[in-house]
């Protein structure tokens, strides 16, 4: 066991030394893997951020009920009573048309337009607070539409739902991209290891002749694949982090215009670790396939 560990440790050191001994080739290989991983990783980061925005917005979905112009005071009172009985409706707030107009007058953007109006074009409205998700709100819609004296039901959740669907679509696209590029990573490692095996052909042959086990001969290549994969993963994280910093500068300006302090957030520690482990595993897999395929070809004669 100690021998085994010692040999692994020594192999690890030798592999690092070999990688450091050929910095340009190492850098290029790591960059290829890094860029390949950075594409789906960056997409994933954007989606995660979009997801967190929609969660903030959908935390408290609202429904606006616009009443028909002919609705009178009695109708409004009757409606209010009925709304409170509908399960899923937490609160119903009545907004008279005069109050809505006042609101618009106070708003800088619309005040000028409102001033030119002769009559109030706005209808009376109810704003419903619901606790449910976008899907539950959707179920509520036909019931609300069936109420008397209702001209229009505006679901706050409609665009959120569209956004959620879009994010879901994006997630699928990122997954497909990630799968394809994972194969790319395996292929890159496969080739690197193949070249390394060819470079060390003499050493492998002599080692076999003087009593090296197959496990011993394979070991440095597994280490190489593993280290290269992990370095590639590290490069991908660095690339995505840098891109995030650059994007955040513009996003901050944009967000300030909307009075928000939104900015892109990076992955947590466990996500980063998971990515490194995954990249290292893919590197190992590529090395494993390459070694299985090519080492048998070197048989001393």
């Amino acid at each position: 066991m100690i021998t085994w560990l010692r040999q692994h440790w020594r192999t690890f050191g030798l592999t690092l030394a070999r990688l450091a001994g050929n910095p340009l080739a190492t850098l290029l290989n790591v960059m290829v893997i890094g860029v390949a991983l950075a594409l789906p990783l960056g997409g994933y980061m954007l989606l995660q951020n979009l997801g967190s925005i929609t969660r903030q917005v959908t935390g408290n979905p609202q429904v606006s009920l616009f009443l028909a112009p002919e609705a009178g005071k009695a109708d409004i009172a009757a409606l209010e009573a009925r709304l409170k009985q509908i399960p899923g409706v937490r609160a119903a707030r009545f907004i008279p048309r005069e109050q809505a107009l006042e609101g618009l007058k106070r708003s800088e953007n619309t005040a000028d337009v409102i001033a030119t109006l002769q009559a109030n074009p706005l209808p009376d409205a109810f704003v419903l607070e619901t606790g449910g998700s976008a899907a539950e709100l959707e179920k509520l819609e036909p019931e609300l539409k069936a109420l008397p004296k209702i001209a229009h039901v505006q679901l706050d959740s409609a665009w959120v739902k569209r956004l959620e669907t879009l994010i879901e679509l994006g997630r699928t696209a990122v997954l497909i991209l990630a799968t394809l590029l994972a194969f790319g990573l395996i292929a890159v490692t496969f080739n690197t290891i193949r070249l390394q095996i060819l470079t060390q052909k003499d050493e492998i042959e002599v080692s076999k002749l003087i009593g090296a086990t197959d496990a011993f001969i394979r070991r440095p290549f597994f280490h190489l694949g593993l280290i290269q994969g992990a370095l590639g993963g590290l490069a991908a994280l660095a690339i995505v982090y840098l891109c995030m910093l650059i994007l955040n500068r513009s996003i901050l300006e944009l967000a300030q215009l909307y009075g928000s302090d939104f900015r892109l957030g990076f992955f947590g520690f466990s996500d980063c670790l998971a990515l490194l482990v995954f990249a290292a595993f893919l590197g190992w897999l590529g090395a494993y396939m390459s070694v299985s395929r090519h080492l048998a070809d070197i048989e001393p004669r």
Binding site: T3, R6, Q7, R10, D202, E203, E205, V206, S207, K208, L209, I210, G211, A212, T213, D214, F216, P300, R301
Partner: protein, 217 residues
């Protein structure tokens, strides 16, 4: 220690390298295998470390049957043998020291212990002063001695050498032969294939003469 009985080895294409070969070598013997090129000397030597397997017949090395030996067992057989190859197989991307270190890399010696054994082996072949040299800068005789150091660093019980003096001048060849004799004197079984008859006669050892894959005498 090494015994061949009714050994036949034919290669694909029908060329028969060895036919009906039977002999045995006891522990501590010094044996020469001579014969013209193509007589089967190299094939005979390759059968012992299982680089080649016999087509029929039995090859026993330390009681193990080479013909039926499973692949994973082969490395452990080879660690007990010291091999000196016709084409030397030195690695030119590392120092003489590291070349001799190679067989100890996978036997799990602590680095300090291994380094001591490497220096002892280099000392025995007179190359201790050249341990940092790249093998390409060594003379032909020195390269051959480096091969011997690599073969003996593991303290094998059997030493196999294929044409170890082929490319050497007579003085270097005599030096190398003297080395083999000194290993034999400390109990190592030594088996040398050569076509250098003059060199063989001077040592007066046991000689197996091969002729077209059979023993001639």
């Amino acid at each position: 220690m090494i015994s061949f009985s009714q050994v036949r080895k034919s290669y694909r294409g029908g060329h028969e390298a060895l036919a009906e070969l039977s002999f045995s070598i006891e522990t501590g013997e010094l044996v020469f295998i001579t014969g013209r090129s193509g007589a089967g000397k190299s094939t005979l030597l390759k059968l012992i470390p299982a680089i080649e397997r016999p087509t029929s017949g039995t090859v026993l090395v330390n009681g193990q049957n080479i013909g039926s030996m499973r692949r994973p067992a082969i490395p452990y057989l080879r660690r007990n043998l010291g091999l000196i190859f016709q084409d030397q197989k030195l690695l030119y991307d590392r120092s003489a020291f590291d070349n001799v270190m190679l067989p100890l890399a996978f036997t799990g010696h602590a680095h300090k212990d291994a380094a001591r054994r490497v220096r002892a082996a280099l000392d025995k072949v007179g190359l201790l002063a050249r341990e940092k040299a790249n093998p390409i800068t060594l003379s032909g005789g020195e390269q051959q001695r480096l091969c011997i150091a690599r073969a003996v660093v593991n303290r094998p019980s059997i030493l196999l050498a294929d044409e170890p003096t082929a490319s050497l001048d007579s003085a270097s060849a005599a030096e190398v032969m003297e080395m083999f004799r000194s290993f034999n004197q400390v109990g190592v079984t030594v088996l040398i294939a050569t076509h250098d008859e003059a060199l063989v006669q001077r040592l007066n050892p046991r000689v197996l003469v091969l002729k077209q894959g059979r023993l001639a005498s």
